[in-house]
């Protein structure tokens, strides 16, 4: 029996509870070829995947952290992390079959209820393994695949192998290498030609174990003319020591298809969230990232879209809220690699109580691309004097016939606005919340109603006591 973990009481964060750890298997701390081999053994993986992991481990050991970012990255102790924690050995299709204590956790998070009400499919990951995956029968009949990534490797190895690691190769960056070596769980989605999944699929990621690293790997393939909206949410207990979440998401949007990927990231403030998300969009395809970052200690995440063929459109809507002790280094990356491609980036960030947000973006247009249009807009709102916001936009435009608009604004919570609203009878607190809700509205309105409500609620929680 291990000692009770140290939990930090955080009144504002109501997802900070934990379950007594009942892991079936927990790898020793640190990442070695032996541990990789053990993970691969447990998962009964094909040899090519084992080799992929071991190669990635080598790359991870050689790679340095990115040159930007913060000294905080140096605080991560890679030797003090459990890279694999397996709580249950089954990926169930019915909540009844999920172990009680895990089901209780997801009940508290409202997932089974949401599934009944407004989702087409749900995945739930607890520590390293996916514990539940289900999709509506009618969609399954149309050939839509929605599985835990490990299971997809077992059941659909050909299509898996064809795409896995092609969008984000292990050598892309240090944390992509780490994920490639230690990956476990995540979602695999395949939408067949012409099939439109009208209501969202959702995955929920929960870290429970202490000193744990979660490295899920998501792969989405939208075949020609198809459509899907995938939503992910995440929380963790507020332990006094830090956890690491380092995911890789790869998305292929084929001709005329449309994918929207929405994230409401609400990790507790002890989680390092270092994620690589990338999509490629082919002819007339549309890829949209809606990326909301509210939790974590440090987030470094720049969802990207590579526009590979004419008519492709990429959109990134990024929302970040940094409170005390948080740094949200978020943004987006659009690469125009074909003519007549279009893109939009809208970034909204809020900082309070000394929190820090950074917008980091890249807009690249390759030589020879004509008729490219792009709009980038970054708005930052500082809620007090001690908070900070920075903008690091990079543009690499190698083609002459492009139309680019870039605007960036940093503003403070305006006294004029506060006075105007309070002079109508609203308290300063209500007025501030109203201004903030209005500020993030262009992003929130893009979410399905239930998530919009949730996001507004999370922002209000972050705002508690923001004023005076």
């Amino acid at each position: 029996m291990t000692a009770k973990p140290d939990l930090i009481r955080d009144e504002g964060y109501k997802w900070g509870f934990y379950d007594e750890e009942e892991a079936l298997f927990k790898a020793n701390k640190g990442l070695t070829p032996e541990i990789i081999n053990t993970i691969s053994d447990i998962k009964e993986e094909p040899q090519w995947m084992r080799e992929f992991r071991l190669r990635a481990l080598e790359i991870f050991r050689q790679k340095q952290d990115p040159p930007w970012g913060t000294p905080q990255l140096k605080e991560i102790d890679f030797e003090n992390i459990h890279y694999y924690v397996k709580a249950t050995d089954r990926d169930e299709r019915s909540w009844e079959d999920v172990p009680d204590y895990i089901r209780d956790t997801f009940d508290k998070l409202g997932i089974p209820e949401a599934e009944k009400k407004y989702l087409a499919g749900v995945g739930a990951q607890y520590d390293s393994e996916v514990v539940y995956h289900n999709i509506r029968e009618d969609l399954a009949k149309q050939g839509v695949i929605f599985l835990g990534t490990d299971q997809a490797l077992k059941e659909h190895e050909d299509v898996f192998k064809e795409h896995f690691g092609t969008i984000v190769p292990p050598a892309d960056n240090r944390y992509a290498a780490l994920n490639s070596a230690a990956w476990s769980g995540g979602s695999f989605i395949y939408v067949p030609k012409g099939v439109k999944v009208e209501i969202p699929l959702q995955a929920y990621f929960r870290i429970n174990a202490k000193d744990m690293g979660q490295f899920e790997r998501t792969l989405i393939i939208a075949d020609e003319g198809s459509q899907v909206h995938y939503v992910e949410g995440c929380t963790a207990p507020t332990y006094s020591s830090d956890s690491l979440h380092s995911a890789v998401v790869e998305i292929i949007v084929k001709k005329g298809a449309r994918v929207r990927y929405s994230t409401i990231q609400n990790w507790s403030n002890n989680v390092y969230n270092l994620v690589t998300k990338r999509a490629v969009a082919y002819q007339d395809a549309v890829m949209e990232w809606v990326d909301g970052n509210l939790g974590s200690k440090l987030t470094m995440k720049y969802p990207s879209v590579y526009l590979m063929e004419p008519g492709a459109h990429g959109e990134i809507l990024s929302l970040a809220f940094a409170g005390k002790g948080q740094h949200q280094d978020a943004g987006g990356k659009i690469v125009h690699a074909a003519s007549n491609t279009t893109s939009t980036i809208v970034s909204k960030s809020l900082s309070k109580d000394g929190g820090r947000t950074s917008y980091r973006g890249l807009l690249k247009v390759y030589d020879g691309c004509e008729g490219v249009r792009s709009t980038v807009r970054c708005d930052a709102l500082l809620l007090d004097e001690t908070s900070r916001s920075d903008t690091y936009p990079t543009m690499e435009i190698d083609a002459p016939d492009v139309h680019i608009q870039h605007e960036a604004y940093v503003s403070k919570l305006s006294e004029d606005q506060l006075f105007y609203l309070t002079s109508r009878g609203l308290t300063e607190d209500t007025a501030a919340k109203m201004i903030v809700n209005g500020f993030v509205e262009p992003i929130v309105k893009e979410l399905p109603m239930e998530y919009a409500v949730e996001l507004n609620r999370l922002i209000e929680l972050q705002m508690e006591g923001a004023i005076g």
């Binding site: 305006s414 006294e415 004029d416 606005q417 006075f419 105007y420 609203l421 309070t422 002079s423 109508r424 009878g425 609203l426 308290t427 300063e428 209500t430 109203m434 201004i435 809700n437 209005g438 500020f439 993030v440 509205e441 262009p442």
Partner: protein, 255 residues
């Protein structure tokens, strides 16, 4: 009964310390319409902001009583809930917040304070429809963000619309006529007249006499250098229109 009593009010800009109001005295009772006129920089807008409780100004002397009680220590929202309303000279844009959402929250805050039941969406909409008719307001303004992208005239009309919904006991209209063309001015004035009641007081702050052709004050005051230097009836406004503010100065010096 006096609604508003301003006694020897002194105020300065909090940040710079510049003294703007240097002893203002004014009493507005129920059913009365007062106009404060004065040249630019005389302190008219400051007076309205101080009455509404803008913390950008610091009261350094004197008192403001609203319905018999000093409101100097009251927050702007407390003043509003008690029945004070300021129509801004420069209405502020609140991007992303819909006009109706904002106004419903404000109205319910005021109603709750008065011990009245909060209005639900249906009742609120009915009320809003009725008020938009009085002001000939395009209903599309309701769903737009507060003042965002409104024309100058739309902003001013939106102020009066808010006043109509919040139903204050005393309204201060700060240069509501500025930026309005003659048709818009007439509409706004008609709206204000329709809202007036024997229980309500109105304080019009204006540079020009133009507005007073449409909303008739019983009392006209001239504010210069932070003081009311002359008070009179409606004919004072006409005199000012004819002779300008310059003619007032000797009268003060001689008094």
């Amino acid at each position: 009964m006096p609604l508003l009593e301003i006694r020897n009010l002194h105020a300065k800009v909090a940040e710079t310390g510049a003294e703007i109001l240097r002893g203002v005295d004014l009493t507005v009772s129920e059913g009365e319409v007062h106009a404060i006129m004065g040249p630019n920089g005389s302190g008219k807008s400051t007076l309205s902001q101080v009455i509404a409780g803008n913390e950008a100004y610091e009261v350094t002397g004197g008192d403001i009583l609203f319905r018999g009680k000093s409101i100097l220590d009251a927050e702007p929202e407390e003043r509003a809930r008690e029945g004070l309303f300021l129509a801004f000279q420069y209405p502020v844009e609140i991007p992303g917040v819909s006009n109706t959402y904002f106004l419903k929250a404000a109205l319910n805050a005021v109603r709750k304070h008065r011990g009245e039941e909060e209005l639900d969406a249906v009742d609120f909409l009915a009320l809003v429809r009725e008020k938009t008719k009085i002001l000939h307001l395009n209903e599309s303004l309701l769903s737009r963000a507060v003042n965002e992208g409104f024309s100058g005239g739309e902003k001013k009309r939106n102020e009066i619309f808010q006043m109509a919904v919040l139903d204050p006991k005393l309204a201060v209209l700060d240069e509501t006529d500025s930026g309005l063309d003659i048709d818009a001015l007439r509409t706004v004035a008609e709206g204000v007249n329709a809202l007036l009641s024997p229980e309500m007081g109105l304080l019009l702050i204006t540079h020009y006499q133009r507005l007073l052709n449409y909303i008739k004050p019983q009392f006209v005051h001239v504010l210069m250098d932070g003081r009311i230097v002359r008070s009179g009836g409606p004919d004072l406004a006409e005199e000012l229109e004819a002779t300008g503010y310059d003619s007032i100065v000797p009268a003060v010096a001689g008094s």
